[in-house]
Amino acid sequence: MIQWLKDLMQGHAPAPVSPHLMEPGGGGGAAQAVDTDTPTLARQLALVIDLNVCVGCHACVTACKQWNTSGMAGPLSDVNPYAAEPTGTFFNRVQTYEAGSFPNTDTVHFPKSCLHCEDPPCVPVCPTGASYKREADGIVLVDADKCIGCKYCAWACPYGAREFDEASGVMTKCTLCVDRIHNPLLPEADRKPACVKACPTNARLFGDVKDPNSEVSQAIRERGGYALMPEWNTRPANQYLPRRVTPAAVAPSAPPSV
């Protein structure tokens, strides 16, 4: 188990950690050596999200919602759906950040869902065993029948990826559309998470990050994929591909005049 969580569960203060939201270049797949007693799985399904092409359209957000509200994990409730302060359960959300100062501003659209950590802090804190990680494919799930809604897992998750469903009183989260990807009733081409199928920019890649020949592993290798907050040692399975800038093909022909 990751050290800071051990400390926490044993009543010690955790080591200070970086508050940085993103730490580009720190991940590089599963190569990072960490102090862990969690067995490394042979297969780990995950999403790799390409921030170089995400335009923040929210297609993944509502595609996820519509599939999952009527699926295995649903319904995903909506509170005040037609009144003030509407809120609801969404497994996937897109946040938008600005970085830098005008005019050198970057606007980053950042889709975020459960990262299906290889060492998921949400699992050991669960008092009922409702939160668990599947050995077959590495997906982290919540068994709604066992969940008592204590929210320990939400507190443990450093990424804020858990979604407490107010109406059902249980914790929910991204399932990687486990009821799609292994569903023999669906055509082969449709056995992908709903968000991946929907994404108009194909910014969401899906596959086994333990298979070095998979599309996701290649993308991580070739495009500098990184994990979020590696210093937390959760070994997130999901990774992100950074922005790449294509520079001008011509240089100024004369020194800039002032």
Binding site: V53, T62, N183, L185, C199, N202
Partner: protein, 976 residues
């Protein structure tokens, strides 16, 4: 746990999305619920050419539109004695609604047909709605293009024969540099996202020029912030640089544009027009529609030649510039000069330094940008091994790529200088040869059209006659003052003043003027206004509160100034409250529709595509598709096109009409599976099983042209012949690019009093003379001259949220969680100077009005600009949202700050206090991006809610309702 989910066992039906105007192919997965099929899931159709399986946030939220509590379910009539706007209705039957409406319309049609006005909003069936108006006999018809994008459409079509979005776009698959100026991110939606992603991954360079960095701009390799309304200055400076450095596609300019054609310099009625060969065999002179009779100066022989085909024969070298003496001389002594020489002269003063002061973009950056453009188009050019033959029979062994692509939309269009700005972009693309070239701008069938298109708008006041169809469609493309829709005294024929001297080229009509003009009785009062899917009492009007007041205004007799207002909508919109008669429309999942080649098809670069919607669910309650309503009314009113020679009803309903109506023999609304056996495409006899054929084929028909017709279609002999044969164009003439617009000059000559034909009224002469410049130029947005710029120093604009489509998504339970309210986004330095804190309440004031809203700091906006999301704010209680919802209390519209009219500059003959629409003086495009504002903090004691507020709209009878505090939607198991 990983048991297969039984919900995968669904029925799948294909149709076409209408959560926005993108029109993607979708698969609707249905499960049985306790009251029949329910929508479990909507995904993109992988076999559809437009979206190839992807879907956006709106499309994925279609379920919440289908089951919205704001759905109207029955026709409603305003209660006798109740005030309009109070929303007091009684439910009536369709039979009564039809009786009432057909009686009223029959009376208008038999007496004064122009007193009926039909204006539609986000209508995608203008071939039908336009036909309805034409058959009725009223010129008062338009859709929403007049405030959406007519500057983009007209500016491009009058210059290169096609425009961005539906009728053409950037060929990113083959491009190396992509420059996007402004945009509206559903024009184009999923195809643009997909193409951008592939382009970037292939190493293409993407530059965004925009005051704001959001959406697509976020992933640009470089963001160049610009002040709103100044893109034209940037483009003129780029033209200056390209011309100065001779970064031009000379061969292209000489063969495929009017750049070498000789323009008359001598003063008089031919001044500024192209000189032409008077031989009638060369075609009629000077109407801008005939390229064959113009002249060029051949530098090889030193002679004046016919431009075509002599001037482009092998060995000829048409001059682009004037000789040292400044002009050439025709045999009759007329002094002439190549059009390009006039452009060179025009751009001379448009230096990067000049543009820097206007745009805020450094002059050096402008110079570098010009180099980048030239490098991409000319240095990085390559050939595709595709032979083609041009209009004059020359065989080109390969097709030359010009890998420089542009896209633009709202940021250029919605300014009152938008037409000339778009013209400057079109001319820039033409100088670099990127028109219908691989990697550049490419057309989509049925475009390119002629310049000017051979579609003349109705313009004969004597043809507005009782019980008589118009002799032309209400909308079209005027080519000269003779084609304006005006009376002999120069006054407008139409209620919206479209195609008048105020806005001569208003090709999409001017819906934004209708209510204001009708209430003023300018030029006349009307009786009945029918609105379809247009939220004129809210976000679709400039100066919303004044329009709401206008809808309620009465004359001295106590009658409403607009006596009868009919509103057709699927939802309880703000405008529904003002209706006298409400017609409940269906959703897109409950109806048939066509995306037709007669109208707005979804064509691809490689060939025409049309598509349909078919119902996948039964209509809710008594909802009826608006198309069915129109066909029913047209039949009851016995319009000739809807009536048999014996006087009987010609079409059973909409689907029957679509199959059997033929504007030309063999050509109908749908081009696929024609012929009695369904084995003919593009042209053929009606097929009674055509709908079934579409339904069996993903609701789409895609005709892939042979490769030799994929490019250079303005001049592609095989394509032009093919397109004429299939009825997409009336002639097979090549479409020469209008570097110089003699069409515009013909209006200017009239304004200068140099022509014998129609001339503008005195007070509009200077306006026409100024803006109808045959060469592109930049001028400041017109609002600048009407207000104190020092008092209102900031530009205010909106951006289109990708997860929302106007007001029609405010009732969507999932989408409104993404945008339930909006903020004004302001650069920190600007906000701090005004003393407003991040997140604080502020007043935003224009010369015309004020709103109170919340403000957010942003580094992603040019400091002289403030912006917000479009159409998020709602009237309290509208769209069946609970009173006090975020949309009403925290959301706001920028519309309240914008005037629908501007004072006419006081000059010769201008009546005192005369006003004119706040629109582009050429096209009538609403200038809603021109508004200037200032900000100040709200006082601590002021209410923390947006201003203005309107009275709470009460639920109308029959509105679907059924709102719970917690919704747990699960298709097939529980009712939503």
């Amino acid at each position: 746990l990983a048991e297969p989910n039984p919900t995968a066992q669904t029925t799948v039906k294909c149709t076409t999305c209408y959560m926005c105007a993108c029109r993607c192919g979708i698969r609707v997965h249905l499960v049985e619920g306790d009251k029949g099929p329910e929508v479990r899931y909507i995904d993109g159709n992988p076999d559809h050419p437009l979206n190839q399986g992807v879907i956006c946030a709106k499309g994925s939220a279609g379920i919440m539109k289908q089951y919205s509590p704001a759905r109207l379910t029955q026709p409603l009539l305003r209660k006798p004695g109740s005030e309009r706007g109070a929303g007091e209705f009684e439910p009536i039957s369709w039979e009564r609604a039809f009786d009432l409406l057909s009686e009223r319309l029959a009376h208008i049609r038999a007496t004064d047909p122009k007193k009926f006005a039909l204006f539609t909003g986000r209508d995608q069936m203008q071939a039908l709605t336009g036909l309805f108006a034409r058959q009725f006999g009223t010129p008062n018809y338009a859709a929403h293009g007049g405030f959406c994008s007519v500057n983009m459409a007209a500016g491009m079509i009058y210059s290169v024969g096609g425009s961005f979005w539906e009728f053409g776009g950037p060929d990113l698959e083959r491009s190396k540099l992509f420059v996007m100026l402004g945009t509206a991110e559903d024009h184009h939606s999923n195809p643009m996202k997909t193409a951008l992603s592939k382009f970037k991954r292939a190493g293409g360079r993407f530059i965004s020029i925009n005051p704001v960095r959001t959406g697509y701009s976020a992933i640009a390799d470089e963001w160049i912030p610009i002040k709103p309304g100044t893109d034209g200055a940037l483009l003129m400076a780029l033209l200056h640089e390209l011309v100065r450095t001779d970064t031009l596609d000379h061969a292209f300019l000489k063969r495929f544009t009017n750049a070498p054609q000789l323009v008359v310099l001598d003063e008089g009625e031919r001044e500024g027009l192209f000189a032409f060969d008077p031989d009638p065999a060369k075609g009629p002179p000077g109407d801008g529609r005939n390229p064959h009779n113009k002249l060029v100066f051949d530098r090889t022989s030193g002679r004046i030649l016919n431009a075509y085909p002599e001037g482009i024969a092998d060995g000829c070298d048409p001059a682009l510039d004037a000789p040292p003496e400044g002009h050439y001389t025709l045999a009759d002594g007329t002094r002439v000069v190549p059009a390009f020489a006039l452009l060179r002269q025009r751009v001379l003063s448009c230096t990067p330094e000049w543009a820097q002061a206007i745009t805020g973009i450094a002059a050096d950056r402008i110079r570098l940008l010009a180099q980048e453009l030239g490098h991409a188009a000319l240095t990085q050019a390559f050939d595709l091994p595709i032979p083609w033959t041009d209009a004059w029979g020359k065989k080109h062994p390969t097709t030359q790529a010009r890998p420089l692509a542009f896209h633009a939309m709202r940021g250029l269009a919605a300014h009152s200088n938008g037409f000339q700005t778009v013209r400057s972009l079109a001319v820039l693309m033409s100088l670099l040869g990127t028109i219908d070239a691989p990697g550049g701008f490419r057309h989509k069938a049925p475009y390119p059209r002629h310049i000017v298109p051979n579609y003349r708008a109705f313009n004969d006041p004597d043809m507005v006659k009782p019980n008589t169809p118009l002799n032309a469609a209400p909308l079209g493309f005027p080519a000269s003052p003779e084609e304006l829709a005006i009376h002999a005294d120069g006054s407008p024929i139409r209620i919206d003043h479209a195609f008048s001297w105020e806005h001569p080229l208003s090709a999409h009509g001017m819906m934004h003027n209708v209510i204001t003009n009708a209430v003023k009785g300018d030029p006349y009062r009307i009786d009945t206004l029918l609105l379809f899917m247009a939220n004129m009492a809210w976000n679709s009007s400039m100066n919303t509160m004044a329009v709401r007041e206008s809808l309620n205004r009465k004359d001295e007799q106590g009658e409403y100034m607009i006596p009868f207002l009919v509103v057709c909508d699927a939802f309880q919109s703000e405008t529904v409250a003002f209706a006298d008669l409400v017609l409940p429309d269906t959703t897109y999942l409950e109806r048939h529709d066509t995306m037709s080649m007669l109208d707005r098809p979804i064509s691809e670069f490689d060939g025409p595509v049309d598509s349909v919607r078919v119902p996948v669910l039964q209509p809710l309650g008594e909802c009826k598709p608006f198309q069915e309503v129109l066909v029913e009314l047209a039949s009851r009113l016995k319009f000739p096109a809807f009536t048999t020679p014996e006087g009987g009803r010609k079409f059973k309903g909409y689907t029957d009409f679509i199959v059997n109506f033929e504007p030309q023999p063999g050509i109908g609304f749908l081009m696929g599976w024609r012929g009695e056996n369904g084995d003919q495409h593009l042209r053929g006899a009606p097929n009674p099983k055509q709908w079934e054929a579409y339904a069996q084929n993903n609701c789409v028909f895609h005709y892939t042209l042979p490769e030799n017709m994929h490019y250079m279609r303005n001049w592609n002999r095989d394509y032009l012949d093919f397109a004429k044969d299939k009825g997409w164009r009336q002639r097979n003439d090549p479409v020469q690019l209008a570097i110089y617009s003699d069409t515009l000059q013909s209006f200017r000559l009239a304004a200068q009093g140099k022509t014998k034909g129609r001339q503008p009224p005195e007070h509009l002469r200077e306006r026409i003379n100024t803006y109808f410049d045959p060469l592109p130029f930049w001028y400041a947005p017109l609002e600048d001259a009407a207000i104190d710029l020092k008092a209102f120093p900031l530009n205010a604009i909106t951006q289109r949220p990708m997860a929302m489509y106007h007001s029609w998504d405010s009732q969507n339970a999932w989408l409104r969680q993404i945008h339930s309210h909006n903020y004004l986004h302001v650069h920190p330095s600007t906000a701090q100077a005004a003393g407003v804190a991040d997140g604080g309440w502020a007043w935003v004031e224009s010369h015309w009005g004020q709103v109170r809203c919340m403000l957010r700091y942003s580094e992603a906006v040019e400091p002289g600009t403030v912006w917000t999301w479009n159409a998020i704010g709602k009237g309290d209680g509208a769209w069946h949202l609970a009173p006090g919802s975020d949309e009403a209390r925290k959301g706001f519209l920028l519309n309240h700050l914008i005037s629908e009219e501007l004072p006419l500059p006081q000059g010769a003959g201008a009546p005192a206090g005369a006003k004119v629409s706040n629109s582009d003086p050429i096209t009538g495009q609403a200038g809603w991006y021109d508004v200037r504002v200032r900000i100040r903090p709200a006082e601590p004691e002021e209410a923390a809610q947006s201003f203005p507020q309107v009275d709470t709209m009460q639920p109308v009878p029959g509105v679907r309702g059924g709102v719970a505090q917690v919704m747990r939607f699960f298709a097939g198991k529980s009712k939503p």
